[in-house]
């Protein structure tokens, strides 16, 4: 999240790094190139963000990296903020999500969540964020990173959904919402 132009600059850096990795392997060398895993990218980005911060010219972003851990092969989720602070956790959120989504995630997250439950949980968080953040939209995208079927430690499948609208049925229906508050007999409008 944050400044989109800086985000695109960071993506550009990562793409160039991946290309360099792939193309600098000699065909007869013993060295086999592997894609950077999420934890490696997370470490690299920590370095990038902290160096910029030291020059008083940060990339104005909060970054979340999801995928697999290169050392353990387990799912990995980590965050780097604009001054290079890093956090690795089972659930993360940026912006207002820290105040609104994290408490929901702390209550509802379990290590054995099914994919459907996880999606429903995220959609619920995004719905509340749409209610309470002026800058939020009710059209979202969900993405999933799954480790490769052949047991490689790098994330092999990564799918991003198309944008879709959150389901808002019942979100505005409570009788106290519908009730007018500004009439003469009421307390003055709120």
């Amino acid at each position: 999240s944050g400044e989109y132009s800086d985000f695109k600059a960071i993506i550009n850096l990562l793409e160039r790094k991946a290309l360099e990795e792939e193309t600098s392997v000699l065909s007869d060398s013993l060295y086999k190139s592997t894609a950077m895993s999420a934890s490696q990218i997370w470490n690299y980005l920590r370095f990038v963000m902290y160096s910029k911060r030291n020059k008083f010219d940060p990339y104005w972003n909060d970054l979340v990296v999801a995928g697999t851990d290169s050392t353990t092969g387990k799912p990995f989720l980590g965050m780097i903020d604009k001054i290079g602070t890093t956090i690795q956790e089972n659930f993360l959120a940026t912006g207002y999500g820290g105040y609104i989504a994290l408490p929901l995630l702390r209550e509802k997250w379990r290590p054995d969540l099914t994919e459907g439950e996880a999606r429903a949980l995220l959609e619920d968080c995004m719905k509340v964020l749409f209610f309470r953040d002026c800058r939020a939209s009710s059209r979202i995208q969900l993405a999933k990173a799954e480790k490769g079927q052949d047991g490689t430690t790098a994330a092999a499948t990564f799918i991003v959904s198309d944008p879709y609208d959150l389901d808002m049925t019942g979100a505005w229906d409570a009788p106290s919402f519908v009730q007018a508050k500004g009439n003469l007999e009421d307390d003055g409008g709120w």
Partner: protein
């Protein structure tokens, strides 16, 4: 827009970087409100978002306050300031009703509100629209923006979201449209403003004022004519 006179006064107070004129953390009805007179009624509409900075303090508020039997006002700006003003004007109009035995006119209500805003213009951040019916002038709409000018207008739009829909209203509003058509136009316009303005959102409340009745309507946020995602 804030007059330079107001800014000089406010520089003595603590200024919020996000919203010049508001104290830090002040609650604002950054908003979209409108009132249009039609052939058989005044149609008044408002969104329902009340924000403190970028946090939505209330997503279902009622920004249309009734001042007397056939006069309502739409409030924008500081929620505290407009609630206080509404309380004062209601009090004075109730007294007038008792003293004269006649329903107050929209002109009286508007000029009363204008007088209160003008005399306190350094301290207030309030933009209101007054709309209603009375027996002498029929359907009328008055606008009182930030500097406390009180003007009778053919239609009124106000709030942070209003700038996005002037073109829509200019091209589609007709003075001789029916109140029902007016209500459809008001809902459409406010939906468009809510799609583009971060400080407007939630549900749409409309009131149609006719000589015999005030008819309130509620449009939930998932049944807006346009948006909320905008396309």
């Amino acid at each position: 827009m804030i007059s330079t006179h107001a800014i000089q006064q406010q520089q003595q107070q603590q200024m919020s970087a996000d919203y010049p004129g508001m104290k830090p953390n002040e609650v604002s009805t950054g908003t979209t409100i409108m009132a249009i007179p039609t052939a058989d009624g005044v149609v008044v509409g408002a969104d329902s978002r009340v924000s403190t900075g970028s946090y939505v303090a209330n997503r279902v508020s009622d920004k249309i306050s009734q001042l007397s039997k056939h006069i309502v006002c739409c409030r924008s700006g500081s929620a505290a300031d407009t609630q206080a003003l509404t309380d004062y004007v209601r009090f004075y109009l109730q007294n007038l009703l008792v003293e004269t035995g006649r329903e107050p006119t929209v002109k009286t209500a508007a000029h009363l509100m204008g007088r209160l805003c003008y005399d306190n213009k350094e301290r207030l951040l309030a933009g209101v629209i007054i709309g209603g019916w009375d027996a002498s002038d029929g359907f009328s709409v008055y606008q009182i923006p930030l500097g406390a000018t009180c003007l009778k207008v053919p239609f009124a739009l106000s709030g942070s979201g209003s700038g996005y829909i002037y073109g829509l209203i200019d091209s589609e509003y007709r003075a001789d449209m029916t109140a029902e058509a007016g209500r459809v136009l008001v809902k459409k316009a406010i939906s468009h403003a809510m799609a583009r303005d971060g400080s407007s959102g939630g549900i749409i409340r409309t009131v149609v004022i006719k000589p015999g009745s005030n008819d309130r309507d509620y449009t939930p946020g998932n049944e807006l004519p346009f948006g909320p995602t905008g396309y």
